[in-house]
Symmetry: C2
Subunit: 454 residues, 2 copies
């Protein structure tokens, strides 16, 4: 008999990897960031059974994220897991309501916090079913799957019956895709670790050669350093990876709408697949205008890393503003909302290419890309790969010969090792008590462009 | 000589008014909320001179807002006021950057927190100049005013030179509007306090009669209770306030796009000026579709209370989605961003009608409506009025004969009385230590629709 654990209490922890010291994650907007997690463990009445979830920040202010998780987490204490998952879509809607709603709604810190809490429920559910999360979802009937989703605010493009029909139509071919997934041939990857902005040319070159050797044929580089610098770095990719390599570019919201339209055509001869985050992630009409302007130059547009909810993605799709739905595993409100975005993307025929450029993101996104391929879109896409910090996960994302491996451990691959907490929990971990760590914590402008002076 | 204070330290306080006990603020989405403030005081090296700012939540989770303020506030400690205000637009841009940016960006809790911190700077600046904030802004030259604004992400509709030209064109008539403002004839009000959802019909009727006697001719009622109930309550306004009264309606995001389009025409014969927040505040295209559908029925569309930043307002204007820019004094990132939204609204010819439906909001919005009239749009609009909790402000918003009075005390009218803190600071205030207060704090689902049970 499958257990139906009751959640008895929770623990929240603040974990910050000092990634800025190696320029990991550096881009034109975020010159120095520490990949950081607000981490929650739901304890249960079943010995050894825990639900783990976390969400992401860029270091400073991670305690705000933890406070957000702490504000929401009590709602599920004392509850049986099945009472939440039975009508999970309804649970989700109620969970996003109440007094805490006004502060966002469905955006920013509270949205990230809701994600951590819901991840912990999904992790617990998958463990109870002894399945990796992606397979828990793929094994659901279409009806079970749509019951986990709240369709509020998206029924003008996708209703529950429509979603049900879409999923049902894919059922007959699902077993075949499942075989492909179990053979670790479902989710190819593209490599971002070659091109962090803070890397020297020598570092980029060495990383590129390693990535080519590891089977990568798709690469992403940060741009926006000025045309000369950009051309030099992009040319390096072409030289080392060849004319067949697919190159993505990313400028992390640096530009206004017209700047993007002016800048990118100058790089068109380098055959770039898309420019990611050309402007504010909130600018749906702006992305639409940029995409239309760059189309004649063969350059697509992508965004999603900072797109806060399904309503924004709905409009990016309606406005034909993007060539890739780069949803983020932490930004949206849990797997529930991620499923709704995957369904809308499938309906519009736009591939889901999750944002996976931070510590632990590949671990989570790997589940998303697998269930999207097997159960939602039915089409192969690609997933961002970054090479840092996998050693701190008990169920790390594996990548060989160009493909992510399908996760096999029960749960959502959320668990972080004791060693990581010993070193990087904030403020009591070894690193944050060190001289360098204390200096970094004591700088209120860390990672800001300027304004340090009085 | 005008002082140039240096900020030496800050204090943050968590204040929650138990407004839900009187059904104040109740609406279809927020059935029970406690108007709450994350409150910051910047102390300076000038005796008696402080900068005060606060932002707003709906009670539960207000400690998250306070944590957000605490994460940002250190950035200005040790700085001279003039070093921030000299190029305030640039200061603002840098302030929104750095590691904290990733959690939003420019949305949700961190956006609210940035607002509180910036309000404290503006309050301090106005006090140093011995002017009420609205007048500090109106007395600026066009060049000084545009220097306080960061135009990032809006240059496709409004550049700094364009804004400068707009402001310059209004200069010759400014003195006349200033006279009107100083005579307390600049900002008429509409009354929302008559129509909170939790009020009984008898309460609504009594409140209406009082409001008519106080000179109100514009009223807002919550709808979405079902057509019969809505018609009955709206009919009450017509009966008591007469055919000439202007009626606004508000459904606080209850509906999906097609529901709004289906529902509202059934009420068209009641002659309703607009429906506020018909759906998700993020749904620009949805509002545009709703507005087009309701136009033949004579019903306009308004939103803004939950519109998080200038990029969203820019698009609501571009998409011709709204008849009123209901910007919120707390939701946007300080007066700096509010000015940019007022300028865009003026450019598109859409009136600014600030959201002012919570404790202390009339105090702040009164400044905004005054400077919008005198210096930005040059056109008279209207401002929401709610009658609760003014007694807790040292410089309360005054309203007589249909008009708000222009604030006269130096600063931004942000200061809250010691009595309010004694009673309502959380958790140590008198009310929150009482049995009822502790019960309310102990209910993690307070104000949620359901899901309390296991």
């Amino acid at each position: 008999m499958v257990a139906d654990p009751t959640i008895t209490s929770f623990t929240i922890r603040d974990l910050r990897f000092p990634t800025s010291l190696d320029n990991i994650g550096s881009d034109p907007m975020n010159t120095a960031g520490e990949n950081a997690h607000g981490y929650i463990v739901y304890h249960t009445d079943v010995p050894g059974l825990e639900g783990i979830g976390w969400s992401f920040s860029n270091g400073q202010g991670n305690e705000v994220l933890c406070a957000g998780i702490n504000a929401l987490a009590p709602r599920f204490v004392g509850r049986k897991l099945s009472s939440m998952t039975k009508n999970f879509g309804e649970t989700h809607r109620n969970f996003l309501g109440g007094q805490t709603r006004f502060m966002s709604p469905e955006r920013g810190v509270m949205q990230l916090a809701s994600n951590a809490v819901l991840n912990a429920l999904w992790d617990l559910w998958a463990k109870v079913e002894s399945k990796p999360l992606w397979k828990l979802i793929c094994d659901m009937t279409p009806q079970e799957l749509v019951n986990t989703i709240d369709f509020r605010y998206i029924t003008d493009v996708l209703t529950k019956p429509q979603a049900l029909a879409m999923l049902t139509a894919l059922e007959s071919t699902k077993a075949q895709r499942m075989q492909q997934a179990l053979a670790d041939k479902a989710v190819p990857g593209y490599n971002t670790s070659v091109g962090w902005l803070g890397f020297t040319d020598t570092e980029v070159e060495a990383k590129l050669q390693d990535a080519v050797n590891a089977g990568f044929r798709h690469f992403k580089l940060k741009v926006g350093l000025g045309l000369d610098v950009d051309r030099k770095r992009l040319g390096m990719v072409r030289r080392i990876a060849g004319d067949e390599a697919v190159i993505y570019t990313d400028v992390n919201q640096l530009w206004d709408v017209d700047e993007a339209i002016e800048y990118m055509p100058h790089l068109a001869d380098l055959n770039l697949a898309f420019i990611e985050e050309p402007t504010s992630p909130d600018d749906i009409l702006g992305h639409s205008k940029i995409r239309a302007a760059l189309k004649p130059h063969g350059i697509g547009v992508a965004t999603g890393e900072h797109v806060n909810n399904r309503v924004m993605f709905k409009q990016l799709l309606q406005a034909e503003a993007i060539d890739a739905v780069q949803l983020d595993a932490l930004r949206l409100s849990g797997i529930n909302e991620i499923l709704s975005v995957c369904l809308m993307a499938a309906k519009f025929g736009v591939p889901v290419i999750p944002h996976s450029g931070g510590t632990g993101m590949p671990e989570l996104c790997n589940h998303i890309s697998h269930f999207d391929f097997v159960a939602i879109s039915g089409k192969q896409s690609i997933l961002e790969y970054t090479d840092h910090c996998h050693e701190y996960f008990t169920d790390p994302a594996l990548f060989t010969r160009g493909f992510y491996h399908a996760p096999t451990a029960p749960g959502y691959s959320c668990q972080i090792t004791d060693e990581a907490f010993r070193r990087f929990e904030c403020p009591q971990g070894e690193f944050w008590k060190s001289k360098r760590g204390l200096e970094m914590l004591g700088d209120p402008w860390r990672g800001c462009a300027a304004e340090q002076t009085s």
